[in-house]
Structures are given as C-alpha cells and as structure tokens.
C-alpha cells in the first residue's frame, strides 16, 4: 500500500527534475521545483502513516511554509527578469559566463 504512494512521489519528483532541466520558461521551472517539494511532502506524509507518528505531517507543513516563502521570492525575481528583458526564457539571461 505504502509503496504506491512512494512510487507516486518518486514519479512526481522525477517529473520535477525533468521539468527543471528541459523547460526554459522561468515559471515552468519554478513550478517543477514546487512539484519536487510536494513529492517530498507526499513521501513525508506517507511515511508518517507507516510510522504512525505525527512528525511527518508536521514536517510536511513546514516544508509547505518554506516552499511558499521561496515561491514568493521566485515571483519577485520573475517580475524583475521581465522588467529587464521582458522575456522569461532562461537562456536570455546568460551574460555571466566563461
């Protein structure tokens, strides 16, 4: 029973990874990262059930909170980027290199 949860979380996680490395739109990238975090949350919750302890649920909550903070910052950054180049393609932002 637990395994299916884990499989799901792992699949989500991998989807997230694929999203990060394949997509060039900043928004999509951040969403993929959120996906990964939620995969982690799912795992936490699932394990919490296995161990029959509340810790996992608490942890999931905390992760969500942090993820929210991160997302807030991410949005700010997105706005900045759009201000500068009016594009959200990560490849546009490659002045720093070499």
């Amino acid at each position: 029973m637990i395994h299916s949860y884990l499989y799901l979380s792992i699949i989500l996680f991998c989807l997230g990874i694929v999203g990060v490395i394949s997509r060039r739109n900043v928004f999509t990238v951040f969403m993929s990262i959120e996906l990964m975090l939620n995969a982690a949350n799912l795992a936490f919750v699932a394990f919490a059930r296995v161990h029959e302890s509340m810790d996992g649920h608490v942890l999931a909550m905390m992760v969500m909170a942090v993820a929210a903070a991160e997302a807030a910052l991410a949005l700010a950054v997105v706005i900045l980027l759009h201000k500068h180049k009016s594009k959200l393609d990560t490849n546009v932002f490659s002045l720093l290199k070499g």
Binding site: I17, V20, I21, R24, T90, N91, F93, S94, L95, L96, K97, G98
Partner: protein, 633 residues
Amino acid sequence: MGQSVHYLGLIPLFPLMGAVFIGLLHVFTCKNAKLPEKVYGLLACVGPVLSFVMALKVFFQLKALPVDARFLSHNAFTWFSVGDLHINMGFLADPLSCLMLLFVTLIGSLIHIYSIGYMSGDKNYGKFFAYMNLFLGSMLVLVLGDSPVVMFVGWEGVGLCSYLLISFYSEDTNNVLAGNKAFIVNRIGDLGFVLGMSFLFWGIGASGFDYLSLKANIHHLTPAIALTVCLLLFVGATGKSAQIPLYVWLPDAMAGPTPVSALIHAATMVTAGVYMVARFSFLYAHVELAGDIVAWVGILTALLAAIFGMFQNDIKKVLAYSTVSQLGYMFAGVGVAAYSAGIFHVFTHAFFKALLFLGAGSVIYAMHHEQNIWKMGGLKAKMPKTYLTMVIGALALAGCPPFSGFFSKDEILFSALATGHYGIWAVGLLVACMTAYYTFRMIFVVFHGEPRDQHAFDHAKESPAVMTVPLIILAVGAAFAGFLNMPGVQTVSHWLAPSLTEHHPHASSFVLVFAMATSIVAFLVGIKIAYSKFGKGAAEPVFSGFEKFAYNKFYVDELYNAVIVQPYKAVGSSIWKTIEPNVTDGPVKAVTRLYMMIGTAFKVFQVGYVRIYAIYMIVGLSLMSLFLSQSLN
C-alpha cells in the same frame, strides 16, 4: 733519521714575499707615480739570491749527514686533515730536491739579473718581476714539497705563472691565446695528476700521504692500482713537461719574454715532470710496463720535436723544439729506470738551454726583437761574447765532448743500451745526430755568413754587462757541469742515490765505450751536415714536400683544433642554443603551455545557461547513483 730544520720553509717564502711586495707596489704605483726600474730590479733579485744562499746552506747541511739519513724536513703546519686524509704543509730536502734546489735558485737568480737589462723600458716592469718571483716561489714549493699534494701546489702555481708570463704582452691576442693554451693543456695534465693522487691515496695514503710514508707502504699497492697511478701521474708529467700528446703548448709559449722562456720553459718548470717521475721512482721502479711507456713516449717526443726543430725559422722556436726533444731524452732516461741519469740531464740541460735562450734573447735584443734567423747573419763580429757563449751552449746541447750535454746524454743512451732497450737507444742516437744538426744550423745561420738584413745588422751591438755576465756564468756551467757525473766519477749519481730507487746496470766497459763512441759519431755527422749546408751562409730555403709538412709541425695544432677545440665549442653552443631550450627545458615549457591551454579550454564549460548547470548536476548525480547501485550489489 733526518732532522727538522725551520729555514726550509723560508726558501720558497722569500720569493713569494717578494712577489706580493713587488706586486702591491706595482698595482698601487703603476697608475700615477712610476717607480724607477732600479727599485724593482733590486727588490726582485733579493728573494732568489737569498733562496740560493739558503739552498747552499741546505746542501752543506745535507753533506754533513750520513748517507743513509740524508734528508732534512720541516713541517710548517697541518694543511688539511679529514678522516684518514692528513696533509701537512711540509717540506723535504733530500739529495734529489737539494740538487734541483741548487740549480733552480742559481739559474733563477741569474735570469732575474739578466732580466733587469732585458726588460728595461717595459711599462709593466714591476708586474714582470712580481710574476717571476711568484714563479720561483712556486717552483721551490714544487721541489721542496714533502707530499704529492704540496708538490701539486707548486705544480699549479708554476702553471699559473707560466700562463701570466706567456700572456705578458696582453695587448696582443695571440700571446693571450698562447697563454690560455698553455694553462689549459697543463690543466689536462693536472687532471691526470689529481686522479693519480686520488688512486694513490685510496691505495696506501691512509697511513700518511708524504713521500716517506708512501715509500714505506708502497708494497701494499695492488699492481693494477700501481700501474693506474703511474700512468695518471705520467699524464700530469706530459702536460707539464710537454711530451706527446700534450707538447703543443710549449712552442707557442715562446710568445713570452725571452727570460721567461729561458727560466720557465727551458730550465726549470718544464723539467718538473721529470723531477716528479724521479720523485716517484720508488713507485715507477715497481712497474716495468709504466717505465717502458714513459721511455717510449719520451724518446718518440724527442724524435718528433727534433724533426720539427730542423725546419724552424724562428730562433726561439728552434730552441723550444730542442727543449721538447731534450725533455724527451730525460723521460727516456727515467723511463729506463736510470733516474739519476735523467735528473743529471735535467741539471746540465738547465745550464746550456738557459744559456742558449739568454743568448738568443741577447741576439733578439740586439736585432730589435727580430726572431727570424733568416733576417740575421754574421753577428759573430758584432756580438762576440754572445757568440762565444752560445757556441759553448750549442756544443753542450749537441753533445760534444767534453761539454756537459755530452756526459748526461751519453749516460741516458748508455743506460738504455745497458738495460736492453735497444730501440730507444737507436732512436736516441738518431735524435742526437739531428740535435747536432739543427743546433749548428741555427748557429751558422745567425752568426756566420753575410748579414741578411743590413739595416738591422748595422744597429746591432753587444748587450750590456748585466745581460752578458749571466751568460758567461751559465757558459761556465754548461761547459764543466758534465764532469760532475763523468763515467767513473758518478758524483751526482752517488749524491742522488739515497733518494732514488734505482740499481745501476752493471754493463761491461765495452758497452760504455760503444755508447760513447756512437754518440760522438752521431754528433760529428750532425755537425758535418749542418756545416756543409749553412757553414758558408745560405739563402732562406723554400720548403716543399716533407720539409713543408715538418715545417708546419705535421699540422698537429690544426688537427687538435679540428678534433677537440671546435667540437667542444660546437657542443657548447648546441647545448645552449638547442638542447637547453628544447630538451632540458622542454618538459617545463610543455607543461606551461598545456596548463594555459586547458585553462582557456575550460571556459567553454561555463556556458552561462542555468539550465545547463542544472543538467551538470543531474548528470553528476546520476553517475554517482550508478556507482552507488554497483557498490550496493
């Protein structure tokens, strides 16, 4: 045992101090205030004369001692001492060194006096005498040194002075080059000397490295080492005493002032090699083979030099080659284990060769530094003293009885014959004949016949007394020194006996007479040919064929230049131009270049696309997890 006397140390010290004093005087005065030449002259002669007096003192003190304990020694101080190696700055006066001492100081003093006249007017007058004194000091160290190492000090010292004096007229490049040649060739010999000493030390040096201890332990030396040491030391001798193959420097050394040629390159320094071999007689006497090699090298050198001597035009060159050839005789003598004969020839040769050189110097002086004999002639009338003395010298050199050269040379030939070295005897005889020829060729051409250069002839006049008096003294020596070791009398041989390891061959009196007769014949033949060709005066010959070949000394210098000097320089420049930057420094350069290349190449990976960075992460991560999964099962 012999006794220790302190004044031995003084003998070399006098001239050395003189050298330092005169040298400083010269250095500090030469720029502005010039000192009168008299001062230098007097200062210069003090040292040698004092040493000569000391030498006499030594001689008489030795004479007083019983024959088997005839040596004086003085150990000044411990020079250096490391592990088994103990070297004292010690001096040893035994009959052998005493003999050398006497004639070195005597002739040294005479030549110093002579130089006062000869060098007059030279701007480096002081420097000259400083060098001369320095030389005499080193020579005396060489003679008196009680161990090979101390001898080596003198050995190198005289080499240095010879270098300095050959390149004395340093304005002219050729003189300096001649000086370099002399020093470098000598150094080649010295390498042999040093290595020889090293082997000797590791052989038997541990228990004392002075001659007496070495003599005592000589039987501990393995034959192989003994032979090696003998040959290596002989290499040293060939360098110093101008034997094949290292004789080439001596003729060029004539670039120096004539008194230098007389003192250093005829009378004293060049005989150091012979002296050294005689010193090591206790060693050479043990090694037959080494002796034979020495003898043959010697006699062949004598032959070669005689051949060259017959075709030289430069009066000093003639004498130079005759010196080389006489040195060859000496080595032949010591080679056949007739050490006393060899040393005796050194002794007599010192007189007549110094005489000849000084005479030649006097001629050159008179002819305003003209050295080509074909520019001279008929000088007999102009400078009788010089003529007479030089004839005496020539007769002695040519080995005319009863002049000194006859007895000493005859002694050598006789020993060769008596010890069964017939080949050496034969060659020796031939050389004797040639010697007579070229000596009198020179005499006839220079003094007889018509003057070839009228102008020079008119201005030519007899040299001042300060130059002629030494000539006369030397002439006396050249004439009568031979009687000291007449067959039957053998004073010198007996005198030397204690310090030499030789057993006189007991040959029948017939052999003795035969040897004498043959050498007299050789002399007569030689002089006859010379007279018939040049007696009436002759024009300068044009050489062709073999003569030309001999006149150019068989192109040996050119050969050495092509085979040794040029390749050496080539190697040098190739190292510097090619090997250093490309081979030795190659790896370093390569590493640097690689380093920079990689550095620039690596910038490519910093593409600047954040996505790519994420991909790096994932790729690395997946690789790691791959290894992980393998390590798990």
